[in-house]
Structure formats: structure tokens, C-alpha cells
Symmetry: C2
Subunit: 425 residues, 2 copies
């Protein structure tokens, strides 16, 4: 890898695939058709795109049980421990309804309510990561969402992969439909004869799924459209080049569009990481993908000081940030923008992908400047509470009416004054 | 008003104006031009659309001071009290960074950080409500956003309206640009020579502003695109028909597309409210607007029981909900979906528009099913914190590597195992 000075524009921003006009048109038609024709439309698209004709899309108890045959007890134990860790972390995000009272009888507050129903999209094929199911379902469950619907495209045998079924079953997800693509998003958003609509759709998918989610946004809520994965490493001279290179490559193996970047003020470390990346790359099964990612979106930036390196890290606003420094906790307060922050050399990024507890659905493409990891709060919403007593309205009613008239809203003023008149009468 | 039974589909959903293809094309070109040509493009569009040629768009201290001449001391005092109330409420929304530790040395947490910069769009002309400035700026300030940029289209005299300037100055907003429309959104999102870009844009605007916000979403964050205003009133036989009608009309005067709905289980009340609406309507200055709203989007629903009425209210998921009942607090726990909930007959909806403290930027068009009022949290974001000790990685590293291999991500597994090898070596 080339070692280059920290430059003015460090942005990781890559163009997110917005689809072609043809793709957008096709997705729009699919959604319209599912909205009008429900299950029958979904069935036709499943025949067309997934090459299976399913009378009934709901996964049966028998399918769930059969899936367990191919998952070892050891793996099951690991999945269960991961579930516990992720639940434990997310339970700490639960927000409370609160209230404040005044002696004049005013009560103001904020009521937290759970969404009624959430849909989780699970991609088919190799992209069906069990960790993705955990990370999308658990926050919804911890929030208290009563109805969780999972959809995933059927394999050619008309089933879902064993690991998807086992993971869903371990979580207690009961409503699993073997449908995928834009037609699944349409079914989740508008409902069909056999599936009631949901209020929010989360989970990754291909370009058709992403476009469909954008189009149904407003009818339902959606999570963010994720870009390719990223890691930025901030390191001082104490950084271990072998660990840093391995972590950069673990990000690079995801996708040729993934990005792995090191920012350091130590030239010796920069050179050592560069050598390690080249060396470790050679034996990776996904060498081709990782190499493309490193060549096109990887970089080693050399800063003139550690402070400059921190500034660059904030400019990058990366999805994953690793801090390899003598005193990582001294650095933390200076980090303004990052999806997840990994401190110290034992906090390898994969620790957060499956197991530690925090969510792995994180803001990409610089959006950590204004976005957060997927969160229990994403499955709740708030309502303001306003209760004015007679005394409070008498004390403030004239002011409120005056403000309304300042905005030329006479009916607003009268609505308040009507109560004041009544009290005087 | 007609009194009709509660029906299956109560949805308030109205079609939100998505703009014509020509409008979308025009907005896309404006954004592109501002992105490429910066201030000069903004200046040309301001000449074209606002009919003024401004060399310098920044509001001066002299303009701010001059604006005070037209605002009375009384009105200023009311605005200042409203600011205090709104600040007080929003301060209670501030979230804390938290952390959890385990004895094996693991530290996990969630760090709350403020957005660096926020843009607040203020519409021109009659739509320049001072309350809207308060409600959009104060949450950002309470969150701790250091840089707040306000933009608003200039009047024909090249200035902003006095009340906009006074309100902004009272809040301490210093960077106010006299630019509007899609060109203002472009400047906020991409920056120009004289304006650095922001991270989030909030505030209402016309169709060009709404389309521009949709197009820059992703580059920056935006608030929701608001639909026409709504109120739903839930009332039992103790409801005061005169108050209820006045509150419904205060919503109806906003816009012919606004919606005011009563749901009650008491026929006598339903009939009385219907009469009151007709009567009070006659003397309203905005009679024409309110009448159109009541005719097209108003309704009085008669339920067979109070429980059925509550179900209907949850189905509506209205922006504003008023509860006029003998025991409104007994009803509150049953309300699942509403932007703001007003309890009791003295809690007229206009109380919440300017003065009480909660935000008046609320989810419309049924989106209260999954969205919240504008909130301090909207101007912050979270980063996950993950710190694994050597001991924690030794205890869990093999499980993490196994999970990585289950997902066919060998480089992930190796990144973790590299640390384990080193420990054994």
C-alpha cells in the first residue's frame, strides 16, 4: 500500500448505487402490482425471479425443526451466547416515558411507545448472514415489538437455508415468509391477504430491495440504505502492524467497494502495516476481493502529529474506527464521528460483528456525522404529552392568543379565549 | 358536518405532493448548479426567483437591530417566555453517554455526540412563523450544536421580515443567510465559498424546498417531509362541544388540506359539535380555508363504545390528539399512536403550538405509527464503544472466529486468531 500524507479531502464517500432507470421502473411496477393483487402478484414474481412456485409462503414448524440437523451443538451454543450478549447490550438502550409537573397543574411529558409491527428482510444466497438476523431482530424484540415478520427469498428447493431458519427460531421469530426482492418489500409495506403490513422495514438487500425500500418510505419507516463497509484505524507508534493489517483485511474481504484506511503519525508503523497487508493478503481465500478493495479504497495516511491524525479520523467519519494507541481512552473524548469505536489492540473489529453485543448495523459513507447504529429506539417512537389545568390556561391564555394573532391564526386565538371567557362568565 | 359510523379504513392519509417531473428536474438542476458554482449560482437564482440581486447574503447586525422597532415589548416578553418554556422541555430530552463493564475487562457503551452543524430553513412570506423558528432552532441548541445556519428567502426589499430577524436574534442565531428555495438547500448541503456545509437540514418549505431536501438526503440528514396538519379529538359525553369545535377549526384554518376529526361514543355530543363547527365557522377570517378543510378532510365519527373510539384513534395515528373525557389520564395508557397528546378540556391544541414547551414539529399523515416529534436526539448521534481486554479475547476469541467462518469470512477469523496465537507464543 502507498503511504500518503493526510490531505484536505479524506472523504470515504463512494457513490451509492441508485439503480438504473429500468431498475427503478421495474421496482415501481412490482410494488404497484403487489399493492393491487396481493399474494397472487407475490407468487408470480417468486416464480419469475426465484424459479419456484409456492402455494404457501409461510415457513412451517417442520421446516424449522429439520434445519437443526445441519447446525452443530457447538455452533448453536455460540449463537445462543451471542444472542445473550446482544440482548444484554440493547436492553440498556430502552428509554423511559417521563413527565414533569408544575404547581399550577401543568403536566408535560414524553411517552415512549413501541412500534406495532416490524419487518426484517434477510437476503438469500451467500449474503444470508445469521449475524445480520440477530442484529436486526434483537433491537425490535428488546423494544417490545409484538409482531416481527421475516422475509427471505426461497432457494430453488423452495426452502430457506438451514442457518437462517435456525437463527430465526432461536430468536423466537414465528412469522417467516419465503419471499424476497421488491415483492417482499411491497408485501411488508402494503400487506397481502396472508400478511398484514408492518410499520418499519429493516435489513440489507440487493439493489431491487434497496430501491423498493426507498419507494415505500413514508408508508412505512425504513432503516438507512447501507453503503459498502469501512474501517479506519487510528494508531500511534505502539500499534501492532500485524493486528492492524489483519483487521484492515477483514474489512476488505467483504466487498471490492469496502474501504480500509490507516491514519498514523508514525512512519515506521505505516511502512510495517503496508508490508503486513501485502503479506497477509496472499493466503486469504477472498484474496481477489480484498485486493481490489485495498487497491481502490484502501489508504495509509501519514499525519504530522497525532492531533492531525485525530482530525483526519473525524473527517473520515468511518463506520468502524479502531484506536491502537498507548492510551486509547485518552483519545476517545476527541472522537466526534464514527459508527462504532474499538479501543485497544484486543478489540479487533470482528469482535463487534457477531458477539460483543453492540449492533453491527452502522452508518456508512460518512453518515456517522449524523447517524447512529441500529438501536432499540429505532423500534419505538415518542408522543408529547400536554396537560394544562384551568389555572395554567388562565395564567397563560392571553399570551398564547397574542402569539397566535402574531402568526395571523385567529381561530387558534379564539380556541384559547373561549376557555377564558367561560371562566369569566 | 355529517356524523358517520366508525368505519374500517379511517386512515387520514392524504397524497403528499411529490412534485411534477418538471419540478423535480428543475430542483435537480438548481442543486447541481449550486454544487458546481457556489455563491454565483445562488445569486443568480435569487435574482431569478426572489427578484433581488444580493452581493452579500449574510444578515448584518444593523438589520437585526432595526427589526426590533416593529415588535412590541409585550410581544417580545411573550416570545422570551415561550423560548424559556421550550428550552426547559427540550433540556429533559438530553441523553447521556453510558457504559457497562465486566470483570474480565470488557467495556461496552454508547457515546452521544452532537452534530457539528445544522441548517434551519425558514420559509418566506406569510409562512414565516416565528414559532417554527423556535421549534427548529431550540432542540439543536439544547443538543449543543455549535453552528446553526438559518436561511430564508429575501423579500423584495432584500431583507427578511422583522419578526423572523427578531426571533432569530432572541435565540442567538448568528449566521443568517438571505437565500431561499432549492438554492438554499443546495448551499446548506454542499457549501459555497461563503457558507460551510451543515450536517442536517430542518424546517418547512414549499414543494421546491421539499424536493431539494429529498435529493440531498444522504449527503446530509433531513427532518421528515411534513404533510398537512391534523387534529383528532377523542371525546366522551363530558366533552364541551364549543371547545372541541373551536379546536377543530383552529386546525382547519391552516390549510384546505388540513384535517380535523372527532371520534366519540356520544351522539348528543357529536350533534352539538357539528352545530358548533358550522356556527363558529361563520365569523372566522380564514373561513374559506377552514370550510374547505372541514368539508374535504373533516369528519365526526360515532363509535358504539368508548373502547371502539380509542381503537379508531389509534388507527388514525393523528399528528395532534385531544382527549376530552371525564378521566383523560385513564385513557392515556391506551393511546398507541399520536404525535402529541393533549389531555383535558383546558389543553387546547394551540397551547402546544407556541408556548407550553413540547415541539410542534410532529409526524403527520399516519406516520405517528413510527415517527416522533422533533427532538434533541435528532441533533445528536451515537457511537458504539467496544473495548475487549486480553482476558476477554482469550475467553471468547475462538467462538468469534467460529462465527466468522460460519459466515465464510476467513479474514475476520484470522484477525481474531492472530491475537490468540501471539498470546500462546
Amino acid at each position: 500500500m502507498n503511504i500518503i500524507p493526510v490531505t484536505k479531502d479524506l472523504s470515504l464517500k463512494r457513490t451509492i448505487d441508485q439503480g438504473t432507470a429500468d431498475q427503478r421502473q421495474a421496482v415501481s411496477e412490482i410494488l404497484q402490482s403487489v399493492r393491487s393483487n396481493g399474494d397472487e402478484a407475490v407468487r408470480q414474481y417468486t416464480k419469475q425471479f426465484d424459479h419456484v412456485d409456492l402455494q404457501d409462503t409461510l415457513v412451517t414448524e417442520a421446516e424449522l425443526e429439520a434445519a437443526y440437523a445441519s447446525v452443530t451443538e457447538d455452533m448453536l451454543a455460540i449463537i445462543r451466547e451471542a444472542i445473550e450478549n446482544i440482548q444484554d447490550f440493547h436492553q440498556r438502550q430502552v428509554q423511559q416515558t417521563w413527565m414533569t409537573t408544575k404547581e399550577d397543574g401543568t403536566i408535560l411529558g414524553q411517552k415512549v411507545t413501541t412500534l406495532d409491527a416490524a419487518g426484517v428482510y434477510v437476503p438469500g444466497g451467500r449474503a444470508a448472514y445469521p449475524s445480520s438476523i440477530l442484529m436486526n431482530v434483537i433491537p425490535a424484540q428488546v423494544a417490545g415489538v409484538k409482531r416481527i415478520v421475516m422475509t427471505s427469498p426461497p432457494q430453488q428447493d423452495g426452502k430457506l437455508s438451514d442457518i437462517v431458519l435456525v437463527t430465526a427460531h432461536e430468536l423466537g421469530v414465528e412469522e417467516i415468509h419465503k419471499i424476497g426482492g421488491a415483492q417482499a418489500i411491497g408485501a411488508l409495506a402494503y400487506g397481502t391477504e396472508t400478511m398484514k403490513p408492518v410499520d418499519k422495514i429493516v435489513g440489507p438487500g440487493n439493489i431491487f430491495v434497496a430501491l423498493a425500500k426507498q419507494l415505500v418510505f413514508g408508508t412505512v419507516d425504513i432503516d438507512m440504505i447501507a453503503g459498502p463497509s469501512e474501517v479506519a484505524v487510528l494508531a500511534d507508534e505502539t500499534g501492532n502492524p500485524s493486528y492492524i493489517a489483519a483487521d484492515m483485511l477483514s474489512q476488505a474481504e467483504h466487498d471490492p467497494m469496502s474501504s480500509a484506511v490507516l491514519v498514523t503519525d508514525d512512519r515506521t508503523l505505516a511502512e510495517a502495516v503496508s508490508r503486513e497487508v501485502t503479506e497477509q493478503l496472499q493466503t486469504l481465500p477472498k484474496k481477489e476481493i480484498a485486493e481490489a478493495s485495498i487497491n481502490d479504497f484502501g489508504a495509509i495516511y501519514l499525519a504530522e502529529s497525532f492531533e492531525e491524525a485525530i482530525d483526519a479520523i473525524n473527517e473520515l467519519a468511518a463506520e468502524h474506527l479502531e484506536i491502537h494507541a498507548a492510551h486509547p481512552w485518552d483519545v476517545l473524548p476527541k472522537i466526534r464521528h464514527a459508527g462504532a469505536i474499538f479501543l485497544g489492540e484486543y478489540s479487533s473489529e470482528p469482535v463487534g460483528d457477531y458477539f460483543a453485543g453492540p449492533n453491527h448495523v452502522l452508518p456508512t459513507n460518512g453518515t456517522a456525522r449524523f447517524s447512529s447504529p441500529l438501536n432499540v429506539e429505532d423500534f419505538t417512537k415518542k408522543s408529547s404529552i400536554i396537560s394544562y389545568s384551568k389555572q395554567a390556561l388562565e395564567a397563560n391564555g392571553k399570551k398564547i392568543a397574542a402569539f397566535a394573532r402574531l402568526e395571523d391564526l385567529e381561530a387558534h386565538a379564539r380556541a384559547v379565549e373561549k376557555r377564558l371567557e367561560a371562566d369569566n362568565g
